[in-house]
Amino acid sequence: MSDRIFGTFGLLLAGFYAWATLQIEESFLSDAVGPKAFPLIIASILALSSLAIILRPDEEPEWPALGRLAEIGAAIVVMILYAEFLPEIGFVIATALAATYLTWRLGTAPLQSVVVGAGTSLGIYTVFHLVLGLSLAKGPLGF
């Protein structure tokens, strides 16, 4: 069933891709092939392979239980927040928070997670910023 849904999604994607390709405005100066031909070839092979996936699906993969799925969802949200707030609050704080969360969710005791998270953040900051001179996001506190 998963493969059937996946294949249907692939077909829709191929359709959308072909539609988006046809929206490309060609310039008056173009080579013999033009900017549309290759994307259209891609879209058609995408559609064909999606059809094949629908017609001959593999065995059902083992999807995680709802709880685990929520776990992954929460991790994604944390990462998105991290990406958004990184320039705002600076590298060290943002990274310590995100690393603490991930460490905790992977099964470390809460207090230990805070220590590990802070350690990870400071370790990366030391190695990459202080030693190697990589420019990391600066927050209002300057680090």
């Binding site: 390709t21 990406a83 990870t120 190697l132």
Partner: protein, 512 residues
């Protein structure tokens, strides 16, 4: 003898303090990454590319660093196979079969040093193979026109799933996904924006480094979150290393095995669609047929440890041949190395040997040096690496995630790229659940624009005649191989895959 003098020049380039230090660092990091379950050569190299890039290293030093990581990871994979019965990466899968029983018999140290020597022999011979074969392949590649290149790329995609692929439709799907992503951005030939939907960030196209780090490294974090096997299997078991030096008799018994499997592994590495996993698999099977008279394979036979290790390291070297001389990688990690070259503005292929001989030969010399370093590092320091295995994934995986973010942010400094990377991480997780290979996606994003340019150049040269694509005997041959390579796994793929995985579940790693 041209080759030898070029090689000598290469050594002159590689033998600077900076390069030696980078090689040492790369070997160390690579061994650690290979040893840690969940981090293999491809995601190990993937995390480090943005870093090498942002540190402003030149082309040769970055390549030296990253290929040392690549070779190191191939060495490191064996450590957890032998000690924990968990392959550190997929090519090390076969090493579990005899390595773990040896460790249980109290011969862990012997198994580690033997496999270290086997890795050295395999990699050393394969690097010589690279020296001798690559320039010959370059001569053929110089005959290629745009139409032939287009066919060659098609061949690479058709065979990338490999003979062990179980579902070619999914390989094709993945390849098209990658090519489709590469099309995003301003068209190089006519200057019109394509598939950008007005988003300015997309005008430059999607940075393939973002895609690689997301797909390879971040998806691994999600896999670990899903299973929550964050508490390492390692921390409960007491590992007894035992004596480190193998008895001379054992070494002697293993020598023919090492030589045979090195040759076999090298060939498997050069051929498209085989790669290191298959190299170690066929090496093990061949040796089992050839020398296993008393049925000791699988119960801790030293030859069963040396065969897959020599095989997979030789295949790793062999896989560099098509990557360097044709610009078409045959495995996951070489695809990642191709990304390194491309982001350094170096186009691999026949012209690389003519235009940047310093890069090529410096790299090859560095491989020899890295190899010797790895041998020296891996036998006496093996105790140190086994201690690294005690770091549980619940601490390691967040570090992987954070280093990925640092690397990508270091390149562009934009949150948008981080969001795209998270998107790729999630997509990578879903695709891995659905058994869709990730390597074709990467290769697609890397090669998409070159492939299209070759197509358009070929057709433009022939005034719009598309038949030019199958006009020369060379291109027809390439198309035929591509076709056969795509069709063949439909018949034999399931059988080979079933055999490879008969004794082991797939754990963690993505591909070689």
């Amino acid at each position: 003898m041209d080759t030898l003098s070029s090689l000598a020049d290469g050594f002159l380039i590689a033998l600077t303090w900076q390069n030696l230090l980078l090689a040492l660092l790369g070997c160390f990091l690579g061994t650690v990454m290979g040893a840690l379950p969940g981090l293999g050569p491809s995601n190990g190299v993937a995390i480090l590319i943005p870093l090498a890039f942002t540190l402003g290293l030149g082309a040769t030093p970055s390549l030296i660093l990253l290929t040392s990581v690549y070779y190191g990871a191939m060495y490191g994979g064996r450590i957890s196979s032998i000690l924990l019965n968990i392959p550190g990466d997929e090519p090390a899968m076969m090493t579990c079969l005899d390595g773990y029983p040896m460790a249980q018999n109290g011969r862990a140290g012997e198994a580690l040093s033997l496999s270290g020597i086997a890795s050295f022999v395999g990699a050393f011979l394969a690097t010589w193979g690279l020296v001798l074969l690559a320039p010959q392949l370059v001569k053929i590649a110089l005959l290629f026109g745009p139409a032939e290149y287009f066919a060659l790329f098609a061949l690479a995609f058709a065979t990338l799933g490999g003979v062990s692929s179980s579902n070619q439709a999914k390989s094709a799907f993945a390849a098209m996904l990658g090519l489709g992503l590469a099309m995003i951005g301003v068209d190089t030939q006519t200057g019109v924006p394509r598939l950008t939907f007005g988003e300015v960030h997309l005008y430059d196209g999607i940075d393939f480094l973002v895609a690689i780090v997301g797909l390879f490294a971040l998806s691994e974090v999600f896999i670990f979150l899903e299973h929550r096997h964050g508490s390492a299997e390692a921390d409960t078991r007491k590992v007894v290393i035992g004596r480190l030096t193998p008895a001379p008799g054992v070494l002697k018994a293993c020598t023919p095995t090492m030589l045979r499997t090195s040759a076999l592994g090298f060939v498997a590495g050069v051929l498209p669609g085989a790669g290191a996993s298959l190299g170690s698999f066929i090496s093990y099977s061949m040796e089992k047929r050839l020398v296993d008279r008393e049925n000791t394979f699988g119960t801790g036979d030293p030859r069963g440890v040396t065969a897959p290790e020599a095989g997979n390291n030789a295949a790793a070297g062999g896989a560099l041949v098509p990557m360097l001389s044709l610009g078409v990688p045959g495995s996951g990690t070489t695809a990642v190395l191709l990304a390194v070259l491309l982001s350094l503005n170096i186009t691999p292929g026949p012209l690389l040997f003519a235009n940047n001989p310093d890069v090529v030969w410096g790299l090859i010399a560095a491989l020899f040096i890295a190899n010797i370093m790895l041998l020296a590092m891996n036998i006496p320091m093996v105790g140190l690496f086994t201690r690294v295995l005690m770091v549980p994934p619940r601490i390691l995986m967040p570090i992987v995630a954070m280093v990925s973010f640092v690397g990508i942010y270091g390149i562009s400094g934009s949150s948008f790229d981080l969001l795209v990377m998270i998107g790729f991480g999630v997509a990578g997780w879903v695709l891995r659940k659905l058994d869709v290979p990730l390597v074709p996606i990467i290769l697609g994003t890397l090669l998409g624009n070159t492939m299209e340019n070759n197509l358009r150049r070929a057709v433009t040269i022939s005034n719009g005649d598309w038949w030019t694509l199958v006009d020369s005997p060379l291109s027809i041959t390439l198309w035929v191989i591509a076709f056969v390579g795509f069709i063949l796994p439909l018949f034999v793929g399931r059988v080979i895959r079933a055999r490879m995985h008969a004794r082991r579940d797939e754990e963690g790693a993505i591909s070689d």
